[in-house]
């Protein structure tokens, strides 16, 4: 290892061993990123099947049973396979570089936490080929549809979820340990880059709620195979209990997805505004406040299950409150741009689109929090539109921005700016054509997870499908841009790729050497 990482020139054996046995944070970050991109394409393929079937009323391509497997697998793969690992990959690459650490605190666990993931997804995907088909009960897998009425493959699904949970927990412990112990001298908590902050908070959320998810699937396992009745009313259990447990995990989960995305955007906007982040400490406090609130609002997903009115009111008020710290973040980003010196390279375009579209999703979130109105929105396409605005235009746009922003640092090559901007516009336009009409569909009464629909919904569904295909195409362009950059991008050796960039990651050469900060850097 003294001579650096094995390359293809050292032979296949050595090259493969390098990746399988690596404990290097950059290698593991790269593995996470490529893996998540592969999952993103797979989840995207499922979405294309869904939108193709919904292009017109009637069942044309697939049967409703398979449609349900597609919506379920799309959600599971995108949440657990694409978005979460992508941000863990960014954390692996960037956190040591940002805090001036030589590596992650627990490198072997790091290797393990990545390498169990492909197995989890191989198991999950294989269920599609089993007798009775794969999971067909939605990514929220409500009992008893996911227990008594589930296909036999549900046991494999449960096992896969357990592995994913273990991977996330290990990854989070590693991040917490790294940030607590390995910061460069002089880097106090309140001087850490915001991306690091958001990730530490996310890691605490993960450690807190992944065990809850594990508990939920274990209870399912018991109900299915060992005769218990946690969620079976006939045996004295309660299907609503499942929803409480699931959403106690599920609502923090949506913030697990978005907080690191906030972090990325909080790095990029100052760079291209050439001005420090506005309201750093209020950003940290707002993130912490959001994380705290995320534990106490879960039942806003359950306004229609018939909770007592006191419960409904409480969950409504608490959910409305989340808009306050979320608003603080948006105002801070915009004020960072105010009186800056703005340029609009691809990472900035994605970040600005993030701010606008995420805020739009926040508005619909606020509308959904009003319980009386939610009785009409709930489980319609309005909700689908809401969470795609926050998760796709939020997390995925921010992840894309991160790729363009740090790619030169990772591989020492500059992407083609024109190509990057073209990709942005295709993604931006495609996204809005796909998801804006879904608001109208939902308000007009189209429920979600419908394999087929009445004729009155035909027009907007067709528009939405066209947008989805355009957005899908944008991801192929992203893949092309990344590969083209790695292969033939213009070499750049500058430490500081971007004129306005600040932070320790911009003090190491590009591409970042295999080992960095063997000696802790000076941090003023």
């Amino acid at each position: 290892m003294a001579h650096g990482p094995a390359t293809l020139a050292d032979g296949w054996r050595a090259y493969i061993s390098r990746w399988v046995f690596t404990t290097n944070h950059k290698d593991i970050g790269t593995l996470y990123l490529w893996f998540s991109f592969a999952m993103f394409l797979m989840g995207g393929a499922f979405a294309m099947v869904i939108r193709a079937e919904l292009f017109q009323p009637g069942m044309q391509l697939i049967r409703p049973e398979f449609f349900n497997q597609m919506t379920t697998m799309h959600g599971l793969v995108m949440v657990f396979g694409a978005i979460m690992p992508a941000f863990v990959g960014l954390a692996n690459w960037m956190i040591p570089l940002m805090i001036g650490a030589p590596d992650m605190a627990l490198p072997r666990m790091n290797n393990l936490s990545f390498w169990i993931l492909p197995f989890a997804f191989a198991i999950l995907t294989s269920t599609l080929f089993m007798e009775g088909g794969g999971p067909n009960f939605g990514w929220t897998f409500y009992a008893p549809l996911s227990t008594t009425y589930a296909p036999e493959s549900v046991n494999f699904f449960i096992f896969a979820i357990h592995i994913m949970g273990a991977s996330s927990i290990m990854g989070s412990i590693n991040i917490i340990a790294t940030v607590m112990n390995m910061r460069a001298p002089g880097m106090t908590y309140m001087k850490m880059p915001l991306f690091v902050w958001t990730w530490v908070i996310t890691a605490f959320l993960l450690v807190a709620v992944m065990p809850v998810l594990a508990g939920a699937v274990t209870m399912m396992l018991m109900d299915i195979n060992f005769g218990t009745s946690f969620f079976d009313a006939a045996g004295g259990g309660d299907p609503v209990l499942f929803q409480h447990v699931f959403w106690f995990f599920g609502h923090p989960e949506v913030y697990i997805i978005i907080l690191p995305a906030f972090g990325v955007v909080s790095q990029i906007i100052p760079t291209f505004s050439r001005k420090p982040l506005f309201g750093y400490s209020s950003m940290v406090y707002a993130t912490a406040a959001i994380a705290f609130l995320s534990f106490v609002v879960w039942a806003h997903h359950m306004f229609t299950v018939g909770m007592p009115i006191a419960g409904e009111l409480y969950f409504m008020y608490a959910t409305m409150l989340i808009a306050v710290p979320t608003g603080v973040k948006v105002f801070n980003w915009i004020t960072t741009m105010y009186k800056g010196s703005l340029t609009f390279e691809t990472p900035m375009l994605f970040s600005i689109a993030f701010v606008i579209l995420f805020t739009f999703g926040g508005f619909t979130g606020l509308m959904l929090s009003i319980a009386a109105a939610d009785m009409q929105y709930h489980d319609t396409y309005f909700v689908v539109a809401h969470f795609h605005y926050v998760m796709v235009a939020g997390a995925v746009f921010s992840g894309t921005a991160a790729i363009y922003y740090w790619l030169p640092k990772w591989c020492g090559k500059m992407y083609n700016e024109t190509m990057g901007q073209v990709q942005f516009w295709v993604a931006f336009i495609g996204f809005n054509i796909a998801f804006m009409p879904q608001h109208f569909l939902g308000l007009a009464g189209m429920p979600r997870r419908y394999a087929d629909y009445g004729l009155q919904f035909a027009d907007w569904n067709m528009v939405s499908s066209i947008g989805a295909f355009i957005y899908g195409g944008a991801q192929i362009m992203l893949l092309y841009n990344v590969i083209a950059t790695i292969r033939n991008g213009k070499p750049t050796t500058e430490e500081k790729t971007w004129e306005g960039a600040e932070g320790l990651e911009w003090t190491v050469p590009s591409p970042a050497p295999y080992h960095t900060f063997a000696k802790p850097p000076e941090f003023k």
Partner: protein, 381 residues
């Protein structure tokens, strides 16, 4: 290149902001599919009002925030010679934009609370209807009237799979709609039989989950006769999109006539239970029941789906003693998707479908199952 791109960017972004405004304007026209319906009950009106308030609050905030942002993007561009300043905090504005939104939310909480209280105002109904969600149909029971029936999709598979043109009411038509009178307060008690469903009629503003083992209540009262269509809104398996809700609201006199007729039907039906049915009658009736209620899982040819739903053709239960076959239908198979049909199907229909299963597709048991056999089994428990 970059300049043009920015202009495009700006115009598109403003589109994103303007769309909801355009949406709310269009909502006034009746044919629009853009906005929430105002509906015909107090509850739906309350939901609509608070929805519109929220849209306008969000629009005003959005126009302010995004407007400022676009101004910044235009005015403080490096290409226009902007030089960055270096400020990075200001306690005053930071407090301001924490406190002002909080106040807006507190103000919003008042109408939001009032609207929710309206949704929960289910006391003192004139009529009570128990609604049970089944895979994949609804059962309506008029409590205290002895009237109870199933309501399922009427659109044919041929329309769904494109072998026939789709009718005007595609997926919005049922065998028997729920019938309600105008001007009466109706309480819906919603529950589920197998998995969770959700009963939704947008024009009533009622969406209540149908959870097995639990009752959730909703209510409606309207002065507008008409047909109102709704949907199942909780994923409940392969037929989720195929169990619409259709409600007909009638004038009181019409409703009374309808109810009297339903009651008479119930009495007449009771007399057919004791009758001796012929094998042919049972076979013909049984096939219809089978295709409606069983074929969704066990398939039209009785072959089932390997690994998920067992075959009836050649099954030991269908070929075994009659009493065991009746037991499966009446009791269901606990812990499986095979539900009890005791409340879903009449004794006549159960007898007919058992007879059919035992004598179709080469299952030549040759015995005859009478409604009275089913009734006896039920009563023996």
């Amino acid at each position: 290149m970059l300049k043009r791109a920015q202009a495009l960017f700006l115009s598109l972004l403003s589109l994103v902001v303007l769309l909801p405004i355009a949406g709310s304007a269009l909502a006034e026209s009746p044919a629009s599919q853009l906005n929430m319906p105002q509906g015909v009950t107090e509850v739906s009106q309350a939901a609509y009002d608070i929805h519109m308030i929220m849209i306008w609050v969000c629009t005003v905030i959005g126009v302010g925030v995004f407007g400022f942002m676009f101004y910044v993007m235009y005015a403080h561009r490096k290409s226009r010679g902007a030089v960055a300043e270096n400020f990075h905090e200001h306690l005053g504005v930071e407090l301001l934009w924490t406190i002002v939104p909080t106040i807006i939310l507190i103000v919003m909480a008042f109408p939001a609370t009032t609207a929710l209280l309206k949704v929960y105002d289910t006391d003192n109904p004139d009529i009570e209807i128990k609604i049970t969600g089944y895979q994949w149909k609804w059962q309506y029971e008029y409590l205290g009237e002895g009237v109870k029936f199933m309501s399922e999709l009427r659109t044919s598979d041929d329309e769904v799979y494109g072998r026939e043109p789709k009718g005007e009411h595609y997926l919005r038509e049922v065998t028997e709609p729920l019938v309600l009178p105008v001007g009466k307060k109706i309480r819906f008690l919603v529950t589920g039989n197998d998995v969770i469903h959700s009963w939704w009629v947008p024009d009533f503003g009622v969406k209540r989950d149908a959870v097995p083992g639990l009752f959730t209540a909703g209510w409606a009262k309207t002065d507008k006769p008409g047909t109102y269509v709704g949907e199942c809104t909780e994923l409940c398996g392969q037929g989720h999109a195929f169990m619409p809700v259709v409600v007909e609201v009638k004038e009181q006199a019409e409703y009374d006539a309808w109810l009297a007729n339903k009651k008479a039907e119930a009495v007449e039906y009771a007399s057919t239970i004791g009758k001796e049915w012929t094998a042919e009658e049972l076979m013909a009736k049984g096939e219809g029941v089978y295709l409606q209620s069983c074929a969704g899982c066990h398939q039209a040819d009785g072959g089932g789906i390997p690994g998920v739903f067992p075959a009836i053709k050649g099954s030991p239960i269908a070929l075994g003693p009659q009493i065991g076959h009746i037991a499966v239908l009446i009791d269901g198979v606990p812990g499986s998707a095979m539900q009890s049909f005791a409340d879903q199907l009449s004794e006549v229909n159960i007898a007919a479908v058992i007879h059919y299963q035992r004598n179709a597709w080469g299952n030549d048991v040759g015995d005859v199952t009478q409604p009275i056999d089913v009734l006896n089994y039920k009563q023996s428990k």
